[in-house]
């Protein structure tokens, strides 16, 4: 029994006792409409009511034009059953951990509202082909859009992955919103050791309510990688091109969402993609860590959350740095300009931060290429005051890695050593010419 209207429209509708999905007859000077009263989002005005007409169209009717409104009845609203909690199957090949996002949504075709959907039966009915790949079980863990992701959720996901792999499944798929998927993949890459199976993140750039959704190929490809590959790494599996032909398999620490909306938004940066996959085949191109043959997955969720990611740009205010220092932050990652530079006028604040025992890592906002702080004077000055060069790490990856380093080590030398050591494929010793521009990877083969 709800009425989702506000303000004048609410008063207007309450007078006749209407609710969302009431069937109403509305008379205006020129027309008579019969339709179902649809909910109206609070972001819209309070001057209109929304009707779904018999021909399927929705229209808004201005309430001050209504001469008469009559309540005819109530439309039985389709009940969308809450995701059933899945009992662990006796045996499963792949565990699907749900965290929310576009891929795990379904639409109510009446209202257009998006509901979470995640039960195994729902996934099976949507993607019946999954049965041909392997037996799945589902673990509904979170239901958030990925812009709402937090470090503490990374811990929950890491623990859940370890639990699933240690329970004997061949691999794990994590369905995730795409906005911050690459942060999560980096975090899991550092937090999980001795992986006994692939950990695959996937999502959707086009919602599953539309026929053109990319969720289908992404999800099935991800399950295939989880069930059938011998990867011992955290990877992201998403469309390789705008076509529904292959998904790319990206290393979890070398990947970034590089486009707001395209299917192939995710690109490997300073790294080749590991391989490509679709329903028919999986082709691996690059070397990767094989899954551990024995032992249990180890999980280490210690993270220092007082770490910030800041951007260097003309006009950046050094007070920003001072603020973090004064707030007791322990680490800063600077996405520097070019080879890894910052303006001269913030040097003082950086120095003060370092003197206050804040670890500073400098990466490049160019994203592609390696920082090199020995070429220009500013770079050398930065090195001299004690910042750590982030090599070819993405700023986001350096941020997560620094959280992990500071969560686990206290000695400055240990932190520095950890940051400069390749832990999960995040540092590349040699950058091939074909890594840039990134389209080389897609259209010329790897």
């Amino acid at each position: 029994m709800t009425l989702s209207y506000h303000g004048r429209a609410k008063v207007f509708l309450e007078e006749i006792g209407a609710e969302d999905f009431s069937v109403v007859l509305v008379k205006t000077r020129n027309n008579v409409f019969k339709g179902v009263l649809l909910p109206r989002p609070l972001t819209e005005d309070d001057k209109h009511i929304v009707l779904k007409l018999n021909n399927g169209y929705n229209i808004g009717v201005r309430i001050d034009k209504v001469e008469e409104i009559k309540l005819l009845g109530q439309k039985a609203r389709k009940v969308i059953s809450p995701s059933e909690i899945i009992k662990a199957e006796e045996y499963a090949d792949v565990s699907i951990i749900g965290t929310g996002g576009t891929i795990a949504s379904r639409v109510d075709y009446v209202t257009g509202a998006v509901y979470p959907q995640f039960s195994a039966s729902e996934l099976l009915s949507r993607y019946p082909e999954v049965e041909k790949i392997g037996k799945i079980k589902t673990v509904p863990l979170l239901n958030i859009f990925s812009e709402d992701m937090r470090p503490t959720y990374w811990r929950e996901i890491a623990e859940s992955v370890a639990r699933e792999l240690n329970s004997g499944v061949k691999g794990v798929v994590i369905t995730h919103g795409t906005d911050t998927m690459h942060f999560t993949s980096a975090a899991l890459s550092f937090m999980l050791r001795n992986l006994t199976g692939p950990v695959v993140l996937t999502g959707a750039q086009r919602s599953p309510d539309r026929g053109s959704t990319d969720a289908y190929l992404n999800f099935l490809s991800a399950v295939k990688v989880a069930a059938q590959s011998d990867l011992g790494e955290v990877v992201i599996v998403m469309h390789q091109t705008p076509s529904d032909t292959y998904c790319a398999i990206h290393r979890g620490t070398k990947v970034r969402k590089m486009h707001t909306s395209r299917r192939d938004a995710f690109l490997s940066v300073n790294s080749h993609i590991l391989g490509i996959v679709n329903l028919k085949e999986m082709i691996m191109f690059s070397s990767y860590s094989r899954k551990a043959g024995e032992g249990e997955v180890e999980v280490n969720t210690k993270l220092e959350e007082k770490v910030a990611l800041i951007y260097a740009y003309p006009g950046v205010d050094p007070d920003v740095i001072d603020f973090y220092v004064d707030k007791g932050y322990r680490g800063l990652v600077v996405a520097g300009t070019g080879l890894g530079h910052t303006p001269e006028y913030i040097m003082k604040s950086l120095k003060r931060a370092l003197e206050n025992d804040v670890t500073i890592v400098v990466t490049s906002q160019c994203l592609f290429g390696r920082v090199n702080m020995k070429v220009y004077r500013r770079g050398r000055e930065l090195l001299k005051i004690g910042v750590i060069p982030g090599e070819d790490m993405l700023p986001e990856v350096a941020y997560v890695k620094l959280m992990f380093a500071l969560g686990n080590y206290t000695e400055k030398s240990e932190v520095t050593g950890f940051m400069r050591r390749n832990i999960a494929g995040e540092l590349t010793s040699s950058l091939s010419l074909r890594l840039f521009p990134p389209t080389n990877q897609i259209y010329q083969g790897v």
């Binding site: 027309n31 819209e44 075709y109 009915s125 949507r126 086009r206 053109s212 705008p242 076509s243 529904d244």
Partner: protein, 637 residues
């Protein structure tokens, strides 16, 4: 005998689809078609689960069977991420909305207070997103009426929607589309099923079309306006004939459709009489390839050589019905063949109502009938091709044959050039729509409506009436000028040159068209060139007879000025005196012949004179001079 449509319960509703002359509806790409194929191609699939479609929609089921791949041609200059379904839509094109409001008001329809853009699920791949964006802009009231000579027709809805992608190629496993057309703004106006005769349908279609044109904001040319026709008769079933482009075909299509439905009902009754029941029609498909090992039928032989098979199915009690003509020159057998083609991607079928023939012998038929086995009253359908395709084709035929027991199935049909129609797919259920959540509702406030009302163009009849009155044109000429969107140019030329309006009209309507037909690139001759030519005529620099020559010459030599062209064409008019001299010398040179053929003299001289005088003097004047000269020179003898 003419059909009594009232008695037959003919019901027709029309839907117009008219492209608007503005950029695309949800992005800023130009609404421009490309001739060539796209260099970049995308390969996509459409995924819809049953739960999404609710009750299974027959058309959806059909597509699922077809599990197709879609190829999209992308064009750099007319496509962006939006058409490729790689980005959410931008704001709705305001100009398109204004045009839609203008047309709503001209049709006396009531705009809604708030527009909600919807997603209409489309599963044939013609939209990259899997849905078409569409919005209801105005509704009919009791004033939204089109008057025709045989009664009034009510208008129901006006929607603004995206144009679909242009189909290049389609097979059961693949469809290829060009994205240049996708997203162009389109308005759809639908009538109630008030139309009662084929002629009335045409009349309504023409009237509405003229109103669209009077806005001067609609695209012109083939394909820019299409009609969908919804039609049914008593005891028949509703058909949707999609995308009729030529107005004059509408009555013919409707007449054919009535005939088709009547004949299908007749076939149903005949089957009842023959006591054929659904369970008698078996789904069994027989492999009869062996029978045709040594066949003389080239069609069958070729398929077998290519590794195909020949399959046959028995249609109990159908003998003679397959050769029944259900549309002009199209038999019931042809109808079955279209099912085979659409579902099985085969070239066609053979059936016993047309055999022996096509190289298939009596002997071969006998063998088949023995294998199936079938009796005298039964018919047999034969399909050749790859096993999988042939099987699908034959199963589709059997399915269609079963439908014949109930008369007329509801279908979407494609209109053909000769006024007949062809099966496209089963009629989809009511379209499934849900809100386009990427676009917030759009309020139509009074200001917007007032603005549209202020700029409301005159009604077509007003424009035509004005032309008739002001320029003394016939109604037909004026209407044609308006329909072809040449009335504005016409008025400007007349205004500027003060030449006889009839000459200007006939140049615009007839001369240019016939020159174009003869391969002249008349696009090169614009308003400016025409004004120059008419001025030259007014100044006596050329005779009006020379207009086609001048236009053709200028179109070919666009680097030349008009004066140079006139010089080159030797079209400078000559005086009466000079003309008389020329004619006199012709008579002198031919005097013997002329005397022998006195009764044909005028004609002979005229022929010779025109060779020399064409374009320099009005033909009628030449004739007068010739007649005078012949009379005085020959008769005077």
């Amino acid at each position: 005998m003419p059909l009594d449509y009232a008695k037959l319960g003919l019901k027709v509703g029309l839907e117009w689809h008219q492209r608007l002359k503005t950029h695309k509806l949800f992005c800023n790409c130009p609404s421009k078609l490309k001739r060539e194929e796209g260099k970049v191609k995308l390969e996509r699939k459409l995924y819809l689960s049953e739960s999404e479609l609710g009750e299974i929609d027959p058309a959806a089921e059909f597509e699922k069977i077809r599990n197709r791949t879609f190829i999209y041609h992308v064009f750099r200059d007319v496509n962006c991420e939006v058409e490729a379904d790689e980005s959410p839509p931008l704001d709705l094109n305001k100009e398109a909305l204004e045009i839609a409001l203008t047309i709503s008001l001209m049709l006396n329809m009531q705009p809604v207070d708030e527009i909600h853009v919807m997603r209409k699920i489309v599963i044939d791949g013609s939209n990259t997103s899997g849905f078409q964006r569409t919005a209801l802009v105005a509704l009919g009231t009791n004033k939204s009426i089109v008057q025709t000579t045989s009664g009034s027709v009510k208008l129901e809805t006006l929607t603004l929607e995206e144009e679909s992608a242009f189909i290049v190629k389609t097979t059961p496993s693949l469809a290829e589309y060009k994205l240049d057309r996708l997203g162009m703004p389109l308005i759809e106006v639908a009538t109630a099923s008030d139309i009662k005769t084929p002629e009335q349908a045409r009349e309504v279609a023409e009237k509405i079309g003229m109103i669209f044109r009077s806005t001067r904001k609609v695209q012109r040319g083939l394909g820019t306006i299409r009609q969908d026709i919804n039609v049914s008769i008593k005891g028949g079933a509703r058909q949707e004939i999609k995308g009729v482009q030529k107005l004059e075909l509408i009555p013919l299509i409707l007449k054919n459709e009535v005939k088709r439905q009547l004949t299908l009902i007749k076939i149903k009754n005949e089957l009842k009489k023959r006591m054929v029941r659904e369970k008698d029609i078996k789904n069994n498909v027989y492999d009869v390839t062996e029978v045709f090992r040594e066949t003389h039928s080239r069609v069958l032989k070729k398929q077998v050589e290519k590794g195909g098979v020949i399959l046959a199915a028995m249609l109990p009690g159908f003998k003679g019905l397959l050769k029944q003509e259900i549309q002009t020159n199209k038999t019931f057998g042809y109808e079955l063949a279209t099912y085979a083609k659409v579902f099985g991607d085969v070239k066609g079928i053979f059936h016993t109502d047309e055999l022996p023939g096509y190289g298939v012998t009596e002997e071969e038929l006998k063998k088949i009938k023995k294998i199936l086995p079938c009796k005298e009253k039964d018919a047999v359908v034969i399909v050749a091709g790859k096993r999988e395709k042939a099987e699908k084709a034959l199963k589709a035929v059997i399915k269609r044959v079963k439908m014949a027991l109930n008369g007329v199935p509801s279908e979407s049909r494609r209109p053909l050039e000769d006024g007949t129609t062809e099966f496209m797919r089963p009629l989809p259920g009511p379209s499934r729509m849900y809100p386009e959540t990427d676009i917030p509702p759009i309020q139509i406030n009074e200001g917007l409506i007032k603005k549209a009302k202020r700029k409301l163009p005159p009604q077509p009849e007003e424009i035509i009436g004005q032309l008739v009155k002001k320029h003394n044109l016939t109604y037909e000429t004026a209407k044609e000028l308006f329909i072809e969107d040449k009335d504005k140019v016409f008025e400007e030329i007349v205004e500027e040159t003060k030449v006889d309006p009839k000459l200007v009209a006939s140049t615009l309507l007839n001369t240019l068209k016939s020159l174009k037909r003869n391969g002249v690139d008349v696009k090169k001759i614009g308003k400016k060139e025409l004004i120059d030519i008419f001025k030259a005529i007014r100044e006596g620099m050329a005779a009006k007879e020379a207009i086609p020559n001048i236009i053709a010459f200028l179109a070919q030599h666009s680097d030349l000025t008009l004066n140079k062209a006139l010089e080159k064409l030797d079209l400078v008019p000559i005086s009466m005196e000079e003309a008389r001299e020329i004619i006199d010398s012709i008579i002198k040179d031919n005097i013997h012949v002329l005397k022998r053929k006195r009764e044909k003299a005028v004609k002979i001289v005229m022929g010779e004179a025109m060779k020399k005088l064409r374009g320099k003097m009005d033909g009628k004047e030449v004739y007068e001079l010739v007649r005078e000269a012949v009379e005085s020179k020959l008769i005077g003898d």
